[in-house]
């Protein structure tokens, strides 16, 4: 019954900020930018991803959990005990708010894989694959438990509410990071599920997304062929997993991974020089099922930096700007100008052409 799922549809606003020298800045800044785009959300989902916030425990995977029941906590912790060494376990700090009344139990665990007494199929995995497998197990097998963040030295904070409320709730202003993304959401159907908000995350990949992946059906089936289990009922998830597959597992550089997701048109490939033509043709042949089609603007962040990407004919807005060692990407120019009134350069990236801002060593 794997084909029976309900796809989530939404419009949205996005912001991403990176300091390429890894100089940290407060979550207050991105909060201002995302809150400016109030029109782009309807209070049914918002979230933040922050990189560089867990310096002290940076060697441990920070697992952020949502729990709906005491049983789901117990089941999850049993599973964790079996597979993971837990360095630290604590509630995710949050403050009570009038606007946010119903929320799941929120905990974070700082973990590394435990190699003793586990099945051989897990034993042979490298750390990242190991953690992915554990995340998939929790999300697909334990009712009421959901991993919404699993990277190192980074964390996702998200829920059902306006971005200002979600920021307040998670005390976003108290974190300092060198890279942030934020999202506000306008879903057309409202499961009212905290896990359904953005950013989506796996390991240190996180994605904020405005749009609809019309190719979702085949992207999902393609990923399943490589062992990914798609559990979130939303199309954003495929973007995160596709990047994980292409960059981490297939070892493709980020630029070409983006090209695989939004490849040039054949009419342009036909005009290219032989080497490039051969490479682009191969990418399209091999990764046809990974092509993201339909209207979208996404910002994804990972340990190396931040990337903004539009669909092949730019059906959703995306603006980028630079100022010193900062790069900004947002749905609207106004959101950037709110926090950076006079950028060195500001531009509208072309359809399908990624904006890549990596950290400078």
């Amino acid at each position: 019954m794997n084909h029976i799922f309900q796809k989530d549809i939404s419009g949205c606003g996005l912001v991403g900020i990176i300091n390429q020298k890894k100089e940290k800045f407060s979550g207050k800044i991105i909060k201002r930018a995302i809150c400016l785009m109030n029109e782009r959300g309807n209070g049914l989902g918002a979230g933040f991803a922050a990189y560089g916030i867990y310096e002290v425990l940076k060697d441990f995977y920070a697992i952020h959990m949502m729990f709906n029941s005491a049983k789901s906590v117990k089941d999850t912790e049993e599973l964790f005990e079996r597979y993971l060494h837990i360095e630290k376990r604590e509630p995710i700090p949050h403050r009570p708010l009038e606007a946010i009344r119903n929320y799941p139990a929120l905990y974070r665990y700082f973990v590394i894989p435990k190699r003793a007494d586990i099945e051989a199929s897990m034993y042979e995995l490298d750390d990242d694959d190991f953690i992915v497998r554990v995340v998939m197990k929790v999300n697909s097998e334990i009712d009421g438990a959901y991993v919404f963040s699993s990277g190192k030295n980074m964390g996702v904070f998200k829920g059902v509410g306006h971005p200002s409320d979600i920021a307040e709730f998670y005390r976003i202003d108290e974190y300092e990071g060198y890279m942030w993304t934020a999202h506000t959401r306008f879903p057309t159907n409202t499961p009212g599920w905290w896990g359904g908000a953005h950013p989506f995350n796996i390991l240190d990949w996180s994605i904020v997304h405005n749009g609809e992946i019309s190719s979702y059906g085949i992207n999902k089936r393609y990923l399943e062929m490589f062992g990914y289990r798609l559990t979130l009922l939303t199309d954003t998830e495929v973007v995160a997993y596709l990047l994980d597959l292409l960059v981490r597992k297939h070892g493709i550089d980020i630029k070409h991974a983006c090209i695989a997701l939004t490849p040039p048109f054949w009419k342009d490939i036909d005009e290219m020089e032989s080497d490039e033509k051969e490479l682009m043709t191969a990418i399209r042949m091999v990764y046809g099922s990974a092509v993201l089609n339909g209207p979208f603007a996404i910002i994804f962040t990972y340990s190396m930096g931040m990337v903004g990407l539009n669909d092949r004919i730019k059906l959703r807005p995306l603006v980028a700007a630079k100022k010193g060692s900062f790069t900004y990407i947002a749905s609207e120019e106004a959101a950037i100008r709110e926090i950076c009134p006079s950028p060195d350069v500001i531009w509208h990236p072309k359809a399908g052409e990624p904006v890549i801002a990596e950290f400078i060593n």
């Binding site: 084909h3 990418i283 092509v291």
Partner: protein, 503 residues
């Protein structure tokens, strides 16, 4: 002599007031229905011979002919259908296996007609194919699971080359139909259209006439159980080689081209003596199991500098496991022919009762290959009654890389699906070798019409993609989320991997 009990199916009426006695009907009809009576100065039809091929009506300059369903009544019976009665009468009179041509015409449910395609509204914009690029280009062949790129002096290059592929400008091919089953002119028309539209044609197992060698970039060479006309130049005369194991219309059944249909030209291309029967055994006698298939695949690859090898099978109950084995045996393309696929000649009982629909076969093969992580290694061609661009779009959404047009291509050349291909008397010059009939099929004219058909379906596919809000065919391929079932039972929906309309 006792009269035959088999009564005519069609009534042929000549309007003698309109008739100008030009006798063109006599000349046009391949079945010998018409004769001229000097005594009466009238055209006299023998309607028992009529197949309703439509040729006489199209070509009568006076519009004086009418072929209609014969009104002779049989008492209605939901169990004993007229065809049961007719078949029993024929067999009682002849003692033979009844033969037929074309695809299964029994009223089995057509699943295509129970699948509906999605469209965009509000949350995702539709794309106008007249204003925006819309891509149908398709490559058939084995792809690796990932690419490997290296960077030298700031330039990125591909380090591991992709194996040879068949490039199609639209996800269509002409289904393999042999020279022998078809006239040379019919094959030439398809070759001309394939070249004009950037697609390919299968050539069937009758060897390759020398006139078709110039079309090598648009041919898939076939090796079947009869091994007719197979030699090294032949194997290398196309872009790929297809091993034919089975055919949807007659799974498990070989072929038999009677000696009367082996004149000089066909004898030359098939490399058999004039007038001998061309027998294609049911199995390939060097393939009695999957490991034998592997040997043949690699023997062909060795002989062709590793061109793609396609394996054509009929859709049978266990098709998913068979397909998986074929991929593991080294095939680069699997051609699946559903039980409605056409034939030049097959026992009626086989055609009408063996095999399964292409919709089901395609769905289970695509799904099984994904479960086994093999789907990248092979392309799937779906065949067996693709009647329109909508059928093609649905097939692609179920998981096909491309679809094959057999009957549809013949219809473009005039065929009225009279189902008498096996008689060799085709009035349209398609499934006949009688020179007076074949010469009426002008390859240039019908090549143009076939190209028009491919262009028309391509445009329609682009319209469908645009409505779906996607701009390349690979985003439809296997995207079952964009299909919904209407009036299909839960089990069938599950097998198809398609949600019911409303979900």
């Amino acid at each position: 002599m006792f009269p035959s009990l088999v009564t005519p199916l069609f009534r042929v009426t000549v309007n003698h007031d309109k008739c100008i006695r030009c006798r063109r009907c006599i000349q046009q009809c391949g079945w010998g229905v018409y004769r001229y009576s000097e005594k009466d100065n009238k055209i006299i039809p023998d309607e028992e011979k009529c197949t309703a091929c439509g040729r006489c009506m199209v070509y009568c300059p006076a519009d004086a002919l009418l072929v209609e369903k014969h009104p002779m009544a049989l008492r209605e019976n939901a169990n004993w259908q007229p065809y049961h009665l007719r078949n029993i009468w024929k067999q009682a009179e002849t003692g033979g296996v009844l033969l037929t041509g074309m695809g299964n015409n029994l009223p089995y449910p057509v699943i295509w007609d129970h699948l509906l395609i999605d469209a965009c509204q509000v949350t995702n914009p539709a794309i106008d194919p007249l204003r925006e690029p819309m891509e149908l280009r398709t490559y058939l062949g084995r792809k690796p699971d990932n690419i490997q790129i290296s960077k030298n002096n700031g330039r990125y290059t591909l380090t591991v080359k992709i194996p040879p592929q068949i490039r199609l400008e639209a996800p269509f091919i002409f289904a393999p139909m042999s020279y022998g089953a078809l006239s040379l002119n019919a094959q030439k028309a398809m070759a001309i259209a394939a070249r004009e539209t950037g697609i390919v044609m299968g050539i069937g197992e009758g060897g390759l006439h020398e006139d078709l060698y110039p079309f090598r970039d648009h041919l898939i060479i076939q090796v079947a159980s009869g091994r007719f006309g197979v030699h090294p130049d032949y194997l290398n005369a196309g872009v790929a080689v297809e091993i034919k194991i089975g055919q949807g219309a007659k799974p498990g059944i070989g072929g038999h081209l009677p000696g009367e249909k082996i004149p000089h030209e066909i004898s030359k291309t098939r490399m058999i003596p004039v007038g001998t029967d061309a027998l294609s055994p049911a199995p390939q006698h060097d393939i009695y199991s999957i490991e034998d298939l592997r040997q043949l695949i690699y023997a062909i690859k060795e002989a062709t500098a590793y061109k793609p090898v396609s394996v054509k099978i009929a859709a049978v109950h266990n098709v998913a496991a068979i397909a998986s084995g074929i991929v593991r045996a080294g095939a680069d393309i699997i051609y699946i022919d559903g039980f409605r696929g056409g034939t030049g000649a097959a026992p009626t009982i086989i055609r009408d009762h063996l095999g399964i629909p292409i919709e089901i076969a395609l769905a289970v093969v695509d799904e099984r290959l994904r479960q086994e992580g093999l789907r990248n290694q092979v392309s799937i061609i779906a065949a067996g009654s693709i009647r329109s661009s909508a059928d093609a779009a649905k097939a692609i959404a179920l998981g096909a890389d491309a679809v094959a047009l057999g009957t549809a291509a013949l219809i473009a050349m005039g065929c009225h699906v009279c189902m008498h291909c096996h008689t060799g008397n085709c009035s349209w010059g398609i499934t006949t070798q009688r020179p007076e009939l074949t010469q009426r099929l002008d390859p240039e004219v019908f090549g143009r019409r076939l190209a028009n058909l491919i262009r028309a379906w391509s445009r329609e596919l682009k319209e469908i993609l645009g409505a779906l809000g996607i701009n390349s065919i690979e985003s439809l391929r296997g995207n079952r989320e964009r299909l919904r079932g209407l009036g299909l039972d839960a089990q069938t929906l599950n097998i198809l991997g398609v949600k019911p309309a409303g979900l």
